[in-house]
């Protein structure tokens, strides 16, 4: 911010003749110490340990009456929800254009394993399971007024995109606070463990209660996956930045895993911004863009996505969006605004070798 302000003041562009090498990351690298503005306490402090077993049973019965009996749906523990009423209200069909931004989904990274292409190439894939996603709320662009941040006066006055709030993984509402459960009040959905908001074009709005499944995406499309990287804590320079360290012996004392020199002298006689140094590693939001979907299993709502670099640990939450990379964006209309059909098939991308097929023999070119 300061950098741009100064360059604007001086009327200079960063690429000008002046030496303006800036290597900072553009944000402060300290962990957040306070809750965000929109924070709502989620879980009740009173766990109900003093409630008798009979009363607990009674409360659970009430919950099941309201939301349906507990059930294992697509490999996820949830409730048999009667959302037919809301599904009937599905939005009138809109035509898709490449400029339209669709809703994303909340998923869990459940592991990685290799697949093979039909040309014999081995690819590494990450399995993402879309865990019991339902639309909770839609806020149209004109109504979306986020609370201004402490430093800012006015935040994003006129939005072009609305906000879809999506929840995943139903939970027992007994354990949640009143204000958190209030989010789900008008949606007809069981309170969810995880929430996410997706900025969507008004045409892509969805009715509360709409389930989002793996069929929201197609095999062969590209997605962006956002996740929080594994928290490594405060780490030295060898682990954090891959420095080589110094020799273990040959007279070396006390400097085996240290960074060494961090700056020059003379004109540049200071530590330059962005110098790689020890510090907190991981626990950051990262987006991996343009990952191809190789395979989709609708029975368990799992999709196989290119690579093993998806941020976060196994069983961690990730958020999946249509990619914004211009060359990998959807060319044809994807299921829009989402796919309402519920299948249980296993779809493979045409280039991927299905394990049901015979062994591969390399073909002459």
């Amino acid at each position: 911010m300061i950098r741009t302000a100064i360059s604007q003041l001086m009327g200079l562009r960063p690429s000008g003749g002046l030496l303006t090498q800036v290597r900072d990351k553009g944000h402060l690298s300290r962990p957040r110490l306070r809750n965000p503005q929109w924070f709502l306490r989620k879980e009740v402090t009173n766990r109900g340990d003093l409630v008798t077993a009979e009363n607990k049973h009674f409360i659970n019965d009430l919950v099941h009456e309201g939301f349906g009996a507990p059930a294992l749906i697509k490999g996820v523990q949830t409730y048999e929800q009667n959302l037919i009423k809301t599904r009937d209200l599905a939005t009138p069909p809109q035509t898709w254009t490449p400029q339209i931004r669709r809703c994303g989904v909340i998923a869990r990274k459940i592991g990685q394993y290799p697949l093979w292409l039909k040309n014999g190439e081995r690819i590494r894939t990450t399995l993402l399971q879309i865990v019991d996603n339902h639309v909770i709320k839609y806020i149209p662009p004109e109504e979306y007024v986020p609370k201004p941040l402490p430093g800012q006066r006015d935040s994003a006055a006129n939005h072009k995109r609305g906000v879809l709030i999506v929840g995943s993984e139903s939970t027992n509402p007994v354990q949640l606070t009143k204000e958190y459960s209030g989010i789900f009040k008008d949606s007809g959905v069981v309170p969810k463990k995880n929430l996410a908001r997706f900025f969507v074009s008004p045409e892509a709005a969805l009715v509360p209660g709409t389930p989002l499944n793996a069929s929201h995406f197609r095999v062969g499309d590209f997605v962006d996956v956002r996740g929080k990287t594994v928290d490594h804590g405060f780490q030295g320079v060898v682990k954090r930045h891959g420095f080589k360290g110094m020799p273990a012996s040959h007279g070396v004392t006390k400097t085996h895993r240290r960074a060494g020199n961090i700056g020059g002298g003379g004109e540049k006689g200071r530590v330059w911004p962005g110098t790689k140094m020890p510090g907190h590693m991981g626990n950051r939001w990262r987006v991996i863009r343009g990952l191809r979907i190789w395979r989709i299993n609708s029975k368990y709502n799992v999709m196989w996505v290119q690579g093993s670099a998806v941020a976060g640990p196994t069983n961690g939450l990730v958020y999946i969006y249509d990619t914004i990379l211009p060359l990998r964006k959807n060319q044809e209309a994807p299921p829009f605004p989402t796919s309402y059909e519920d299948s249980s098939e296993d779809v493979w991308y045409e280039k991927v070798h299905n394990f049901k097929d015979e062994s591969i023999i390399y073909e002459k070119e």
Partner: protein, 313 residues
Amino acid sequence: MNLTARVVVNRLAQQCAYKRIVTFSTKPAEHAVPAQDEPKNVEVPPAAPTQTPAVPPTTPRKPIIPANYRFVYPEFLPDPKVEWRNSIREKLERLDMLERRKQIDLPEFYVGSVLAVTSSDPHAAGKTSRFVGICINRDRCGLRARFVLRNVIDHQGMEVVYELYDPTIQKVEVLRLEKRLDDSLFYLRDALPEYSTFDENMEAEPLEEGAPVPVNDIKVVLRPRPWLERWERQNLRGVANIDQYLKDKHRLSSARVQKPWEKYDMMKHYRSTIAEEEQTEIFAEVHTELHTLELQRKRNKRKRTFLKPKHLA
């Protein structure tokens, strides 16, 4: 081949006697219950695939999982690291493995068995290449399970790493089914070449049906130093002459890095293995399919043995 049937029965009985077993190990754990305490186990030939035994009519029939499945299909057991586990991923992986196994016969083999692998050759389109060698290591689980074959060809040691479920593999034949005294045979790299030399046109040596897998207790002769690894630190049982090359400094340093207490570390053992209950759960899921594949393989084998004399004539 030097076989001692008594030793084999004893060892297998020991393997069945204790509860948890390291996924890829064929070695009996040192703290295991000695087989002598339980004479019952010795009488049962454990390696024989159990056919439906006489079940008392009162108990409901359960799928009977042979006790040797964890050795025959070690890759069906997931990585015991808790942070990496997910039941749905593991299930999907197993389904894929079964699908692949329906396409190709992936036989039972162990470290020390001699295999021939026929795979598509990326450098000769439309053709396949066949490599014969001794399996010196098996590792990883699930679809990424792999093994290393070693042979000496034209006085040059060759090793090929194959992924078990790689669809470019056309055929896996077991030419000699046996085990060795160690879990991995990387020391063959430092042994005399005759110990890892196998004829390319070797004929398969079929075992009797239902016979336990023999343990070849051959001891290999190492070349003098320098070695690729410090073999003296690894408590190898299949090496004959390691003492010949050791000086006192090697013995001392080897003694310094030994961890004799680890065999009492129950938590370590727990973390590095899959519990028996979980193993039965996993194998109960895949047992029927694996069993039908086994039966099919047996039928094919019988067909092949019947055709053999005609071929020779």
